[in-house]
């Protein structure tokens, strides 16, 4: 089976979208530079030329407005920001204009635009370079907010996002960029409003966003040999939230655990917990749980950041608490061993050596 990394899948999705539709343009700080946004825009200027692939001034709000204006005059811009933290500079144009234009002008116009934001962690990115701000966008009507967790979905959802006539906030976790997955060569669209059951189970529903899907799947695979089957749902989108898929699963499992890469308070994990409870209260056998970041910024020092990011171990613990299942000590050890992060905690893999 053909495999690509998530970054390659993004690149391929961009390439095929630009090839299919001459209205698609690509712009962002560093888009055509040698590092090519972690490789996701590699070769695109060479393929489509400087009239469709742009670097840009460090003017996040203005350039967002310029892209909105270009979209309203017939183009389909894809903007890229290397860090979602920079998106805070563009909140005015995104929230006041892009999200509302179609609505407030009675559907007479629309803003077909994709804004790629990269969230992440590790290597001392620190308080201002590794926020996970998806909740800020997920609250806003008029946006679609995509958070693909696999290379397959990264490509398919990006293609959908570019074809979509609404502003789509497309959020990639950096620790996903190097993970491989089977990715068909042809162009394909993945819906922007459906969660996906990645691993079937009956003991507990684990609904995960973005990179937390990876952690959840590790636990699912580690527990399966011990007869504990958990249902892992890759939420894929934060807006709209596919509550139905989760609700259906909860009706089966009776337990809900939600995983997010963001600060816990006010996270989309909280929203999902609330929605499921409002809908499926009687199906729940215990209080739902969520695992997300503690409510403070991440410090830069890797020593101090140790333990900041919950992962497979914490997921495993939460599942044990929810299901009240106790593994035999040896089995328990085996599970822990198989999910433990190998190498330094602040890098996605041992090949990662900085410097950013």
């Amino acid at each position: 089976m053909r495999e690509l990394t998530y970054a390659q899948a993004i690149q391929e999705g961009l390439h095929q979208s630009m090839w299919a539709d001459p209205r698609v343009i690509l712009i962002g700080e560093g888009v055509p530079d040698p590092k090519a946004i972690f490789g996701t825009t590699a070769g695109l200027r060479e393929s489509f030329g400087p009239q469709r692939v742009f670097d840009m001034p460090l003017s996040e709000n203005g350039m967002t407005g310029i892209c909105i204006g270009a979209a309203l005059s017939g183009l389909r811009p894809v903007m890229v920001h290397q860090r979602i933290d920079f998106g805070l500079l563009a909140m005015d144009q995104l929230v006041n204009n892009a999200s509302k234009w179609h609505y407030m002008f009675d559907g007479l116009a629309h803003v077909p635009m994709v804004v790629r934001f990269i969230i992440g962690r590790g290597w001392g990115q620190g308080p201002q370079h590794s926020q996970s701000l998806q909740a800020l966008f997920a609250h806003i009507p008029g946006f679609k907010v995509a958070l693909p967790a696999t290379a397959y979905d990264a490509k398919g959802m990006l293609i959908s996002a570019i074809k979509d006539n609404n502003p789509v906030i497309f959020i990639e976790h950096r620790w996903l960029h190097n993970i491989k997955d089977a990715v068909p060569a042809e162009a394909y669209s993945t819906p922007l409003d459906c969660a996906r059951v990645l691993h079937e189970g009956d003991r507990v529903t684990v609904a995960a966003f973005s990179y937390m899907v990876v952690e959840a799947m590790q636990v699912a695979r580690a527990l399966a040999p011990h007869g504990i089957r958990i249902e892992v749902i890759d939420m894929r989108s934060a807006r709209p939230l596919d509550v139905d898929t989760v609700a259906k699963s909860v009706r089966k499992t009776g337990h809900l655990l939600v995983l997010d890469t963001a600060w816990s308070s006010g996270s989309i994990a909280g929203e999902l917990v609330a929605r499921v409870v409002e809908k499926e209260f009687s199906a729940l056998r215990k209080a739902p749980m969520r695992i997300a970041l503690p409510d403070y910024p991440v410090p830069t020092s890797h020593h101090m950041a140790e333990g900041y990011y919950p992962g497979a171990i914490q997921i495993h613990e939460a599942i044990s608490a929810l299901t009240a299942v106790t593994l035999a000590p040896a089995a328990h050890e085996a599970v822990l061993a198989s999910v433990r992060h190998s190498g330094p905690h602040d890098v996605p893999n041992i090949r990662f050596t900085g410097p950013f």
């Binding site: 204009n97 009675d106 006539n165």
Partner: protein, 329 residues
């Protein structure tokens, strides 16, 4: 361009129409049926009229909270505007926008919004789209002196200059943002000097003189269309009424009675009329006919609006997201 009497009369008519429409809005606002914030441009009509005289229908205009004049001068539908203020289904936004959100895309009026500075980069984006699609329409942004303080202006000036985009910025300097004079917001230096420093071609003029405005706009538009890069026009003008709402506002005391009187003295409409009559370019009778024609049109517009269907609360739940046809495959 403005040298012909026909053009002069046309610009007079455009200004007078804006004036009379807004006076009618002001008169009826107290009836409490137009229930939205409303910013009148009475006193500032020459800018809208003069600049739009120089534009083609396919040139795209973006505007701000004080948009009536720009919308009408660019050819926006009067009925749809009045209906919009009355919140009717026939309004240009179906009632969703009100006075601060006007649109008539067929007339090249792409939208006005309520966030100061919000549409300025959109006009640059339009010009950029024109460039990238090898079309020759212009992007035009109308904004006020207060708007010039927003950072997005700087970003827009930089990008438009970098790509030498076919864009026109029209800064209506009425010396106030709400009740705050320019001197409490900006240092004593000309606004357009900053655009110039960004590499824009700049123009200044008396915003009460529609002929002068049109002449500048015409030159500027020609240059922009010819690929000579972005053009910045700063025009002095004066807002006669309160910042928001139908009334005069002498009692607020944020500007002197003398200042207000001097502002009104420079009335662009009266000035144009005086010239037309004084230089025998038009007769009193012909101008009266224009006045009459406008009155009829306005009357019809209010009738249209008031007889238009009311939207329902349930209509509000629609059009939240655009249908994504192209996603169909």
């Amino acid at each position: 361009m403005m040298k012909t009497p026909a053009k002069l009369i046309e610009s007079y008519r455009a200004m007078l129409r804006i004036r009379r429409v807004e006076e009618a809005l002001a008169d009826r606002y107290a009836e409490q049926q137009m229930r939205c914030p409303m910013h009148l441009c009475i006193g500032q009509e020459a800018i809208a009229a003069g600049v739009c005289m120089a534009l083609r229908r396919d040139d795209v205009v973006y505007s701000n909270h004080r948009a009536h004049g720009h919308y009408l001068a660019k050819g926006g539908d009067l009925n749809a505007m009045v209906a919009e203020l009355y919140g009717r289904t026939t309004g240009c936004c179906g009632g969703r926008g009100g006075s601060m959100h006007l649109i008539d895309q067929r007339a090249g009026f792409m939208g006005s919004t309520a966030i100061v500075g919000g549409t300025v980069p959109l006009a640059v984006g339009a010009a950029w789209a024109a460039r990238l699609q090898s079309k020759d329409f212009l992007g035009v942004a109308f904004f006020g002196d207060g708007c010039f303080e927003e950072g997005v202006i700087h970003e827009s000036l930089n990008f438009a200059s970098l790509h030498r985009l076919p864009v026109l910025f029209v800064c209506e300097n009425n010396n106030f943002a709400v009740y705050t004079p320019l001197s409490e917001r900006q240092p004593a230096r000309p606004i357009h000097a900053i655009a110039q420093a960004h590499g824009w071609h700049t123009w200044t003029g008396d915003g009460n003189d529609v002929e002068a405005v049109a002449a500048i706009a015409c030159e500027a538009a020609n240059r922009a269309r010819a690929g000579e890069g972005p053009q910045f026009i700063e025009l002095e003008t004066y807002r006669w009424r309160e910042h928001c709402g139908p009334n005069f506002d002498e009692e607020l005391n944020y500007r002197s009675i003398g200042e207000i009187a001097a502002g009104k003295q420079r009335c662009p409409v009266a000035r144009s009329r005086a010239k037309l009559i004084g230089e025998c370019l038009a007769t009193e009778a012909s101008l009266d006919a224009i006045e009459h024609g406008i009155a009829v049109e306005i009357n019809e517009a209010f009738q249209f609006a008031l007889s238009s269907p009311l939207p329902l609360g349930t209509d509000a739940a629609t059009k939240v997201l655009a249908v994504s046809n192209s996603c169909a495959n």
